[in-house]
Symmetry: C2
Subunit: 91 residues, 2 copies
């Protein structure tokens, strides 16, 4: 259970999704299009993120809008990216 946050972070597509809906909410189709992912794949990942509690959703007519509910996750993402970049330069 405690591993869910790290598990969510351990996939490039999920990380992209988090960045994508970190500032403003977006509907599934927009997310998929924006990141060039299959609709169903996007949906699967959104479910993982949602089940983990990192994002929230809101229905509006046919569309469902998602956004990050825990800003901390974006901070972690940024720290992770910084560190990753730093480590990459070394090799």
């Amino acid at each position: 259970m405690k591993d869910l946050v790290y598990k969510c972070l351990n996939n490039a597509n999920r990380r992209k999704i988090l960045y994508c809906i970190g500032e403003e909410e977006r509907c599934v189709n927009d997310i998929a299009e924006c990141l060039d992912l299959e609709q169903s794949l996007t949906s699967h990942h959104l479910k993982d993120l949602y089940d983990c509690g990192l994002i929230e959703k809101k229905r509006d007519g046919k569309k469902i809008y998602y956004k990050v509910s825990e800003p901390e996750i974006v901070e972690i993402l940024e720290k992770g990216k910084e560190l990753g970049d730093k480590l990459e330069k070394r090799c």
Copy 2:
């Protein structure tokens, strides 16, 4: 390549190892004993962490001492833990 940091974080034993050698260096055997892990498993995980660049090693006679080389990883770990705890309370 950029995923290595997140991959390293996505395993409870590796996270324990990072905590264990975050402050002071320790040799493989001590780490294994301290965390109650098999020697070879400890060694496997240390290799992953080392290859990723998160920890450094130093030989002293027969023993090899490891310690965290990037303190940022411990910060990330702590932020991740805080967030994980927060999310867990919800369910």
